[in-house]
């Protein structure tokens, strides 16, 4: 069987059963990402977008596609990489990120845990005895928001894909965290609060396999690498469950997301007045409690180091 559109060898089989060759797959992928951006109004004229990159397939795919749109949509972009200090992982992906940005003349800022917080993630884990994903997640979110704002960005683009979002939606259901789901979607954050940089997810409707295929075909990075720390076990269980379902019942991840998008406006409306944004008593960064999670962890590091 050949590509539906041009009678050449297929490289991808869509869940609908349509076969696509290399050229048609790339066109399909880029068109769908552009449509996601357009219908969700993710990018506006005059935006300054900070693209959070790791050097992996998802973030380099976002950076590659947004970089082709800067002139047409009249916006600026730069890349920001957080170096957590994970030996035998981040050192490799930084090289891919630097290579890509050099070749495409994109300004890259690298911010490290060590310089900003005094310790690498590897060191923090030993001191705190906590799960690496918890510590990493708190400090990554903190630094991405803080640095993007300092660098005058008004939006932060991330490489979150459909798999990531479907997992989060199901995890929130399983944990009865529906108020957290109300803060999800292709664009998050509060429009009129300058402390929070709004986040956009251009790959929101692309499956992780589609992103991997695109990154491979476009040769965006050297090799597929994974963090050396084990993933959060609850997310891992949900991810494996969804992958099993996807294998047996094609399209379930897409169905989770499309049905979630239908109820999202109602969730946002229901929870719109339920959370207040305060300034952290220690660092003044935005937080829903008195002290932000990053400062809580910083205090623990001081205690235990």
């Amino acid at each position: 069987m050949v590509c539906k559109k041009c009678d050449t060898e297929p490289v991808y089989l869509l869940t609908s059963g349509v076969r696509l060759c290399r050229s048609c797959f790339i066109k399909y992928f880029e068109k769908k990402v552009r449509k996601t951006i357009r219908i969700n109004n993710l990018i506006e004229k005059g935006d300054k977008i900070c693209v959070a990159i790791s050097g992996g397939k998802d973030s380099l795919t976002v950076l590659n596609i947004l970089n082709t749109l800067t002139k047409k949509k009249n916006f600026e972009l730069f890349a920001l990489l957080i170096d957590e200090g994970i030996k035998n992982y981040r050192d490799f992906t930084i090289k891919d990120a630097e290579k890509f940005c050099n070749e495409n003349k994109i300004k890259l800022h690298i911010v490290s845990f060590k310089d900003e917080l005094g310790y690498t993630l590897d060191e923090m884990i030993k001191i705190l005895g906590m799960k690496p994903c918890t510590v990493c997640g708190v400090f990554r979110r903190y630094l991405l928001n803080k640095k993007a704002r300092e660098l005058k960005a008004n939006k932060l683009a991330t490489g979150h894909n459909m798999d990531d979002e479907a997992q989060t939606v199901i995890m929130n259901q399983f944990k009865k965290n529906i108020d957290v789901s109300a803060r999800l979607g292709p664009m998050t954050g509060v429009k009129d609060d300058k402390r929070f940089i709004r986040r956009i997810k251009p790959l929101y409707l692309m499956s992780e396999k589609e992103v991997g295929t695109y990154a491979f075909l476009k040769q965006l990075m050297g090799k597929f690498t994974e963090c050396t720390y084990e993933n959060d076990s609850f997310r891992g269980d949900v991810r494996d469950m969804l992958n099993d379902f996807e294998m047996k019942h094609h399209g379930v991840k897409n169905n989770i997301i499309t049905s979630f998008l239908e109820i999202l406006p109602m969730l946002k409306n229901k929870y719109k007045n339920k959370s207040t944004i305060n300034a952290c008593i220690s660092c003044k960064e935005p937080t829903s409690s008195d002290q932000c999670k990053a400062c809580e962890l910083k205090d623990k590091l001081k205690e235990k180091a």
């Binding site: 297929p10 490289v11 991808y12 991997g212 491979f216 991810r239 494996d240």
Partner: protein, 63 residues
Amino acid sequence: MKIFLEKEQKHVEVKGNTVSEILANLEINPTTVIVSKNGNLVIGEEKITSKDNITIFTVVSGG
């Protein structure tokens, strides 16, 4: 035939006449990987022989 697992950086011996068959025999979920045959990406129904250079890339974490 011998195929290469990119994530594990190792070769494994497996039987199968198509990409789908080798993935099934290796108990790999096809929604989590992409497969190249002689450097080009192929889909599950692609026929393969022992002369082909097959690599499996894990693109979806875990599984």
